[in-house]
């Protein structure tokens, strides 16, 4: 019996090559997209899951009952204290993240992008398996460092060579490699290329620059532990505030919470953290939705074409019925056919996935692998999914086909042809709703991204060279040469600062005079005079930090408009006084700058103070004239060698550096663009199939109309009309859905473009255009047919 089914399935498919290939290629594209997205989702959901005992490992965060959000910023003594005092805490350790640190091994230099400072117990908490070295002792010595395989290969050729080798750390100290671990990047929310013992004294309770991870004993309740931490830590904090001359009441002290380690990567949206997680549960949902949508559209193609072409199989069904076939036999037969087609589609989809995987990896910014090694569970689930797709797509056609009345069939009654006619319209409309919604989202994302990239940021990012500094005192040396450098042709201005636009900006506690001891925590940037010139900031009131006023580089401050607004300073703002709570002297606000987007348009502009104090500044920026760039480059290279002899010279262009923060959105936008394109292709395959079918079905009508004098154009329009109406109906449904989704998505951005009608109109026009092109070609062919031929068989 199965032989018989198989024979007829293959022969029918072959006879209707066009429709079969539309069905199969649509399913193949749908499956390929779905597999790719499955790989992406699998990647995202396996990040960090490999960590041994990760289920009882947590990251500690702080929160305030009256404020939204939480901060995974903790002080260093926290870990030591909770291990010592709480029996539920099996181990705890801190992590301090640094970046851009020079490692030198022999003649090989490498700037380590992400470096972690930890204590000796770190691997007890986060048991990152070592490829080489002993987890127990790897971090025992203060001179020890464990490095990623990647760094090991860069510095020593192979990972095995690295063990025991020595590394010069930032021209400051010698380290000995005691362990090598598999690269964390992409496998964990942690992306550190090297982990070493903290080389600095940073022991204060008020220095919230550390992440703290903890492993609890089995069966202890994290919520209870968090409460205990609250109680335990409060006295320490109060004392520390007190010593620092802060007047903080007990109620103002933050609470503590434990975030499960395995949830950090995908579910950290509400938690501000030092190590920013690239993952987002929301994107996993978006991508999952797109995968389902493409599969749905491919499935709909199958349903539409199968039911539309049902009349071609009516006779066979009749015969089988009078030959004794029960309905279930026929249902099984047609389901087997659809499963067969989806399996064929899978055979096309698999190589397609292999081919497009590198591109997809690049678009998503994830390193995805498919069948690099045999992966049976994945293979089976793909196979199972494919069979399910076949069954789902085949069910409705099978029910329709098997339900025909025998007596009508054998008489060749035409009524059977109308079956599924309305449903087909509903399904095609559904497809177009999906297409139009995706197209709207694509347009909105594209425009929001452009809006961000083209927005007046309030500062000038062009022709600015950014130089990362590596030593705490480099900026002083650089400032000392400033006047020499400024003499060169093409160098307009120079500054050193703790942060340039796009860099992370720390916040600081500030006391405003006459505010009843209220503390505020604005962002703070340490700058040298000239910062405003380099970035082209507008000073609205007073002046910027200036060399000419000695107080400016010690006590005084400059604030932005948001500062004045948020803390309700009365005008004139210049002349009012603020200070750090742990200092006696008040500093004057000497200037107000116009708001500018120093951390990108996805963040609100926060209150900001500039200080000219001699605090650490790890960035230099130079405004140059592009025409002279090559001479300036060699000059700076030479000069920097004198300032930082051990460090190869590096620089970025500020505009490129700043655009980096939009990478996430660009990836999403690109992914969406490609998905939309593919979805449209799959949908159009179906539309094309229906157009072919319709023109075959209407060939007699076309013939008659032609004889009666209809022009080709009128006939094309006759066939096109129905599709245009469907697109219009779908658009009416899609517009509010798209509007709602677009609004939702835009909420992520502090600065949103005005949501106007353009993406919506364009999406509808796009759908109309591709539909017309798809249908017209076929309609034109049908309209040109010789009426004699069309009518001959009647």
């Amino acid at each position: 019996m199965w032989r018989n089914y198989l024979n007829i399935a293959i022969r029918t498919m072959w006879k209707n090559r066009l429709f079969s290939s539309i069905n199969i290629s649509g399913l193949a594209l749908g499956l390929a997209v779905a597999i790719l997205i499955t790989l992406y989702i699998r990647h995202e959901t396996t990040v960090d899951q490999w960590l041994p005992e990760g289920e009882r490992t947590y990251r500690i965060y702080r929160y305030w009952a009256d404020t939204d959000g939480a901060w995974a910023y903790t002080p260093r003594p926290l870990s030591k204290t909770i291990v010592a005092e709480l029996p539920e805490v099996e181990a705890a350790s801190f992590l301090f993240s640094d970046s851009d640190i020079l490692f030198t091994a022999g003649d090989t230099h490498h700037y380590v992008e992400h470096l972690g400072y930890v204590d000796s117990t770190f691997l007890e908490v986060l048991s990152i398996p070592l490829l080489y070295g002993d987890e127990q002792t790897a971090l025992a010595s203060p001179e020890s460092v464990i490095i990623s395989e990647n760094i090991a290969q860069l510095l020593f050729g192979t990972a095995a060579n690295a063990i025991g080798a020595s590394i010069n750390f930032n021209d400051e100290m010698q380290l000995s490699v005691t362990g090598v671990y598999a690269n964390l990047n992409g496998r964990s929310h942690l992306h550190h290329d090297a982990l070493m013992r903290l080389p600095y004294e940073m022991d204060g309770w008020l220095n919230f620059s550390f992440e703290t991870y903890t492993k609890l004993t089995k069966a202890s309740d994290p919520e209870l532990v968090a409460k205990k931490i609250d109680q335990l830590v409060k006295p320490f904090l109060l004392q520390a505030y007190n010593e620092a001359n802060f007047e903080v009441s007990e109620d103002e002290i933050s609470h503590w919470g434990l975030q499960p380690f395995r949830q950090i990567y995908l579910n950290s949206g509400e938690i501000n953290a030092i190590t920013v997680s690239l993952g987002s549960a929301r994107y996993v949902y978006i991508f999952g939705f797109i995968a389902l949508l493409v599969l749905l559209i491919a499935g709909i193609n199958y349903v539409n074409l199968s039911t539309a072409r049902a009349s071609g199989r009516v006779q066979e069904i009749g015969i089988r019925k009078v030959s004794g076939a029960e309905r279930k036999h026929l249902i099984i037969q047609f389901l087997a056919e659809s499963v067969l087609q989806s399996l064929l589609a899978l055979m096309i989809a698999l190589p397609l996935v292999q081919i497009t995987l590198p591109i997809f990896s690049e678009i998503t910014g994830r390193e995805l692998a498919f069948m690099a090694k045999p992966e049976w569970p994945l293979l089976f689930s793909v196979l199972g999914g494919t069979v399910c797709l076949g069954l789902l797509a085949g069910t409705y056609p099978a029910l329709i086909l098997s339900g025909f009345k025998t007596s009508l069939i054998l008489k060749g009654d035409n009524k059977t042809k109308r079956k599924g006619y309305n449903l087909r319209h509903v399904l095609v409309t559904t497809q177009f709703v999906g297409v139009v919604v995706l197209a709207i989202m694509m347009g909105v994302m594209y425009r929001q991204l452009n809006y961000m990239l083209q927005q007046d940021l309030g500062f000038n990012s062009e022709q600015i060279i950014q130089i990362p500094l590596n030593y705490d005192d480099s900026w002083r040396k650089l400032e000392a040469r400033k006047s020499d450098w400024l003499e060169y042709e093409g160098i307009h201005s120079i500054t050193t600062a703790s942060a340039l636009p796009g860099d992370r900006v720390g916040n600081i506690t500030i006391e405003i005079e006459h505010s009843d001891g209220q503390y505020v925590s604005p962002d703070m940037i340490n700058v040298s005079p000239g910062y405003d010139e380099v970035l082209g900031l507008k000073v609205l009131e007073g002046r910027f930090i200036s060399d000419e006023h000695p107080g400016d580089t010690s006590l005084n401050f400059v604030v932005n408009e948001a500062f004045a607004e948020a803390y309700e300073l009365k005008k004139p703002i210049v002349g009012q006084r603020i200070r750090f709570p742990w200092e006696e002297n008040w500093g004057q606000i000497v200037g107000v700058v116009k708001n500018y987007h120093y951390s990108g348009l996805d963040h609100q502009i926060r209150p900001l103070v500039f200080s000219g104090r001699a605090n650490n500044r790890m960035h230099a920026a130079i405004k140059v004239d592009a025409a002279h760039w090559s001479t300036i480059a060699s000059l700076i290279t030479q000069q920097m060698r004198a300032i930082e002899p051990a460090h190869p010279f590096r620089h970025h262009f500020l505009d490129e550096h700043f655009a980096q923060q939009y990478v996430k959105y660009q990836q999403l936008s690109k992914t969406l663009r490609y998905s939309t394109l593919l979805t449209i292709i799959v949908a159009m395959l179906g539309v094309f199939g229906l157009a072919v079918f319709l023109s075959q079905q209407k060939i007699k009508e076309i013939g008659i109309r032609k004889v009666l004098g209809a022009s080709e154009l009128e006939l094309v329009f006759m066939l096109l009309k129905r599709f245009i109406l469907i697109v219009m109906a779908a658009s009416i449904i899609a517009l509010p859905i798209g509007w709602w989704l677009a609004r939702k998505w835009l909420e992520d951005f502090a600065y949103q473009m005005k949501l106007d009608g353009i993406p919506f109109i364009l999406a509808v026009l796009l759908a109309l255009l591709v539909t017309s092109l798809t249908v017209c070609w076929q309609a034109y062919r049908a309209a040109r047919i010789n009426p004699v031929e069309a009518l001959r068989y009647e």
């Binding site: 007829i8 029918t12 009078v322 030959s323 004794g324 076939a325 029960e326």
Partner: protein, 230 residues
């Protein structure tokens, strides 16, 4: 074998009912070879469809082998088809995408007959109908007469007790038609009850009983003594 009592079939057309069959009473015994005749629109095909359980009557009683069958579920009907009936159509209705062999084999598949037995049954009937050489051809590679031969072979492969034929020779030349009719007579001699619809007196002469239908009523019902003499 079967008994029709007051069988009615009408179509509703708005408020009007159009009768195709009007209070038909008919009793057919096992072993008969019945020909239903009549002008177009007399209700011949409808009657045949009702007899073959392809269409339900609008009213009346239909007893088949002593059981009422006018209101059966699809599954029950399918069981009766499998157990007792074979069909032959004017347009042959072979499955285009199956070979001659596969077409003939199809009814056996639905009766759950094993592969070996199927093979020997199909081989036997191919041999009997003299179409062994054609077994791997597709329907469109055969002449009309050959196609109908396959159609009959398919109808009788499962040894039905009742063979229903709707204009079996309507698309055939006289000579091809005679061949089919000879076959029918042989089958009838072997004990198969046959009911055929036809326009042709020549075909009717092969049967044992002739029923004339006019406007949904039985006009004439006549037993043909001379049938075997032809």
């Amino acid at each position: 074998m079967l008994q029709l009592t007051d069988i009615e079939r009408y179509y509703r057309n708005g408020l009007r009912k159009t009768w195709v069959l009007n209070r038909v009473n008919l009793n057919i015994k096992e072993g008969e070879f019945v020909t239903i005749m009549g002008p177009s629109g007399a209700g011949k095909s409808t009657l045949l469809n009702i007899l073959g359980l392809l269409e339900a009557p609008s009213g009346g009683n239909y007893e088949f082998l002593g059981e009422r069958v006018d209101k059966l579920s699809e599954k029950k009907r399918s069981e009766l088809h499998k157990a007792y009936m074979g069909f032959v159509f004017q347009a042959y209705h072979l499955i285009d995408d199956l070979t001659v062999y596969e077409n003939i084999e199809t009814p056996l598949l639905y009766r759950g007959i094993g592969k070996k037995e199927r093979k020997s049954m199909v081989a036997e009937i191919l041999d009997r109908f003299n179409i062994v050489a054609k077994q791997d051809l597709f329907p469109d590679q055969l002449s009309g007469g050959q196609q109908q031969l396959v159609g009959v072979a398919r109808a009788v492969i499962s040894k039905p007790r009742l063979l229903l034929a709707d204009e079996p020779t309507g698309n055939l030349h006289t000579k091809q038609g005679d061949q089919i009719m000879e076959l029918f007579r042989e089958l009838n001699k072997d004990g198969v009850t046959i009911i055929q619809v036809t326009h042709s007196e020549r075909n009717a002469a092969y049967g044992t009983r002739k029923i004339e239908l006019l406007d949904g009523n039985i006009q004439e019902d006549q037993y043909l003594e001379s049938a075997s003499a032809l």
